[in-house]
Symmetry: C2
Subunit: 236 residues, 2 copies
């Protein structure tokens, strides 16, 4: 597969929450030092347990970040799109990857040696502060998600998953979510089983909230979904 070397100055990644304050001077260095790689759909990018040696910027494509829990069940921690960075939690350099990553579609990723990244970071107060903010944000997100997964019923968790996908990847004019996942993968996001996903998606379709064509899901009534997954069930 032949692809051309992406230009950092033309890439989503330079504007992401972590890199947005990286100076052009340093971006030039990153542009020189980075390596780019092509990953086929389904190909593994990161392996849980292996040492962290580099971080990955997603130039194009999508990825799922999964982790294995007790009982050896896989769980999807989050989904990545162009502009997202993989492996950042290993920034300390002394740890192993706590999760694996797989390409959901054909993707182009740029890798940057962790040591080089750390050098750049240490000379860039703005950059490191943005990393702090990024992590603080992610931590709040993780806590939020935990609360949802524990307290919502399956119907709500699946509705919430659809909202997440919609917000993350967007939809075309028909409301069709711009990502394709298996029922099993939807289950690994919502933390339930593929059968439950199937059943509730059918329900949602009967209720006119979504439509399912072949392999893609369209949201017809976003507000309905929101109120289903919403926090508005106040009973005080």
């Amino acid at each position: 597969m032949k692809i051309s070397n992406p230009d950092c100055f033309q890439c989503y990644c330079k504007d992401c929450s972590v890199m947005k304050n990286c100076s052009d001077e340093w971006l030039t260095i990153i542009n020189e030092k980075k390596n780019y790689e092509f990953y086929k759909k389904g190909q593994q990018i990161i392996t849980e347990g292996k040492p962290v040696k580099e971080i990955y910027f997603i130039h194009s494509g999508k990825a799922k970040i999964v982790s294995i829990g007790p009982y050896n069940k896989e769980q999807i921690l989050w989904l990545a799109k162009p502009g997202d960075i993989l492996g950042l939690t290993g920034i300390g350099g002394n740890s192993n990857h706590s999760s694996s990553a797989y390409a959901l579609e054909d993707s182009v990723l740029c890798s940057l040696d962790l040591k080089i990244f750390l050098e750049i970071v240490k000379q860039n107060p703005d950059l490191i502060f943005d990393i702090v903010l990024f992590f603080a944000d992610e931590l709040r997100n993780a806590e939020n998600r935990m609360k949802k997964l524990v307290q919502m019923n399956v119907r709500e968790k699946i509705a919430d998953t659809l909202i997440y996908l919609h917000n993350k990847f967007g939809a075309d004019t028909n409301g069709t979510i711009e990502v394709h996942l298996l029922r099993q993968e939807l289950a690994e996001i919502a933390c339930t089983t593929k059968e439950q996903v199937s059943k509730f998606l059918s329900e949602f379709e009967k209720e006119g909230i979504i439509s399912i064509n072949h392999k893609s899901i369209s949201i017809l009534n976003f507000q309905m979904l929101q109120s289903m997954a919403g926090m508005q069930k106040v009973e005080v």
Copy 2:
């Protein structure tokens, strides 16, 4: 209630993962700028939703950090002991507290204005890098906990909760865990109900794994607990 002003140079907090690389020079400044406050058992320290104006160092005592989820159920995110810092996720300064904090016992806390802390941080590359590492670690912990809460059954979650308490607060020579929590609070850690906690603790006691005296729990067979909550149930 009369308490004396704690000396930062004599405090656990200066050696915690975040502050351990803070120079004496800066610690002197913190020592001058900080305020110390006494909190009675049960008293609220931080209120979810309120703006973040300062961070809190726990000088002595214990605290629970709780957050309200959908259905208005409270959940304990983590427990704090001397040396821990509260409110750090609000470090950006533009956010509101994402969780509340309550004193579990009579406690002495030192508060430091967030702006002052940020100034110190920005002039201390070592300090900010430690904050990055701290957050990266917390993020991994949160993901780990999420996996457990979703995949373990109630029995395992309660065993895991006891292990957490033991590791966090330690035990005396009898194995008695050095913290007292209500069944309801144990339930808010394990993400179940107080009745389930009661039932399984009774079971554990019958099995000789723990003993319950008045209000305190002693671990008699730590290994048994570990194997119960352990990740060793590999079925490949």
